[in-house]
């Protein structure tokens, strides 16, 4: 167990983000002739500057800080989780001919599929090479497990794309592999740092898992009911043929006529998606109070997470993590 002063004030969120970005740059800067490849420099800059909310490094840092662990190592591990996340986004952005209609300003759009794939590979291997310098077999196991789960979940999601019979069990497995796994990894890494034998059975890993689950279910909720908060067009899951909780719940309660309407709107492989009438789907959702129902599921999960956070030992970090994550957590029915 490497415990630094449990009472030391944690860094502020902007400072954690700044330090994380610096660390990501350092790790990816690379060495030798590769570093001079313009495309790698451009992808590295893209990963560092596009930034996102750095929610995974923030989670890693505060969770570890609450347990009095070394900031330096937490920032490093958080940066590595973010690198894995960025690599997986690059690979998810790869598109097939038929999908090119859904235009997004992704790396694969800017540089082509192949560059996106290879840049993702480069990020990932550079990250793993750095991780290996820790010489910690458990860290490596947590990362390879997570990377494996990410690809399996994406494949599972593709397998069930356009399939209105997607079950809650399938959807749960997708959520766990796609999103929960990297937060769970953060919790498991903290458990390893604390010297716990069974990192995935730890409270921190469980908290990470719940948090990641919440994070994805919230995204799925907002896609239907408050897409402005995601800064994107709504019903992307529906038009992309991805069945999530709201649609699953609607299909469970809709009558035969309503089901026919949903089926008529539902896109198929190679079928135009512009035909979706968002207002009709949304009014069906509201009629059956799916928004209220989904928000209630989120609230129950939120309570569980806040209970977990309140059990963390370090008061100062506990305060920041609860405050920061309540900003994300708070989703109420409109």
């Amino acid at each position: 167990m490497r415990l630094s002063s449990q009472t030391g004030r944690p860094l502020s969120p902007p400072r954690v983000i700044q330090q994380t970005n610096k660390r990501i740059s350092l790790i990816l800067r690379g060495s030798g002739k590769d570093a001079r490849l313009p495309i790698l420099k451009s992808i590295t800059d893209y990963v560092v500057s596009s930034g996102g909310k750095r929610i995974r490094p923030l989670f890693t840092y505060y969770l570890g800080n609450a347990h009095g662990l070394s900031a330096n190592e937490l920032i490093d591990l958080g940066a590595l989780i973010e690198i894995v996340h960025a690599s997986s986004l690059l690979h998810d952005d790869v598109i097939d001919g038929a999908d090119e209609r859904r235009s997004r300003p992704t790396a694969s759009k800017l540089h082509g599929n192949k560059v996106a794939v290879l840049a993702g590979d480069h990020l990932l291997s550079t990250g793993l090479k750095h991780l290996n310098t820790f010489g910690n077999q458990s860290y490596m196991d947590i990362f390879t497990h997570a990377i494996r789960a990410l690809s399996a979940a994406e494949l599972l999601q593709m397998e069930y794309q356009y399939n209105l019979k997607t079950t809650e069990d399938i959807h749960d497995r997708v959520i766990e592999g796609k999103t929960a796994v990297l937060f769970e990894a953060a919790g498991a890494l903290v458990a390893v740092m604390r010297g716990e034998r069974n990192p995935y059975a730890s409270e921190t890993a469980k908290l990470g898992h719940l948090f990641g689950r919440y994070f994805q279910l919230r995204d799925d909720y907002l896609d239907y009911f408050d897409s402005e908060r995601l800064k994107k067009k709504g019903l992307q899951d529906f038009t992309g043929g991805i069945v999530t909780r709201p649609l699953m719940k609607l299909l469970q309660t809709a009558d035969r006529t309503e089901k026919n309407l949903i089926h008529a709107q539902w896109p198929g492989r190679g079928r135009q998606t512009s035909a979706v009438d968002a207002n009709r789907i949304l009014s069906l959702m509201r009629k059956h109070r799916i928004d209220v129902d989904c928000a209630a599921e989120l609230e129950a999960l939120e309570k569980q997470i806040l209970r977990g956070l309140s059990a963390l030992p370090g008061a100062a970090a506990r305060e920041v993590i609860s405050r920061e994550f309540q900003k994300i957590l708070a989703v109420r029915a409109a």
Copy 2:
């Protein structure tokens, strides 16, 4: 140092291939719910049954056997090198809209780009997860280094695609990253198993490097002068806009009129490649004796490799490895 009986007969090549295939299946079989994903099963079967010549596992096994190392660990490491190789092939097969004309029966053609990418990720992470069970930091370093080099070399090659000014230095870096690196990794792993401090400086790593270099230069040679041996249509590098040794040498000796002819035939980004007149390019090559020149370069390299092989300690393995690899090595000017 783990030395088993140095005098024990090595396994026959078909037996090494059989054991390698068995090991690849075992490693990739996976566990839990993922294994039931039909697409993963199909990709695993594809990797195991498509097989290829398993030249990397054979090289790993005989190199290690010549040093009296454990067959079990050599087969495992060879299987892992092959998994990394298969994963990198899946990622190289990813195509962009404009390239779809060049039809090849690749995974990306069969299942789409995205499946090829995710299956590659899954192979790679499953392989690394298994590698991590060795708990050997040096092994992991060699693998992450190689994976990084593979993606960097592919990016470098893309950067210089269609560029007739590609230099020998650039081409060497591509060859080293694309092909030499996995043979070099085999040699470095054997060096680690033998307890050498500096695996990349070892004779086995140098031999691997030379061998990989030879293997790629030979492919580049055959693409122009004996493509039947590769069981594919010739001049694929030319029509794909990739500058290799033969073209580089031709450009160095061609006169102005001939250079204009080459430039006129050379494909550009988005330009049709069907215009290439293979016979004209080949007759220019033969006129300038580029085939003889390239074969001489290969022969010099071949001698260096055979010298390296003859210095291996284990007589029986040395015999097999020299015999097997001479089958590949022998390239003579037609």
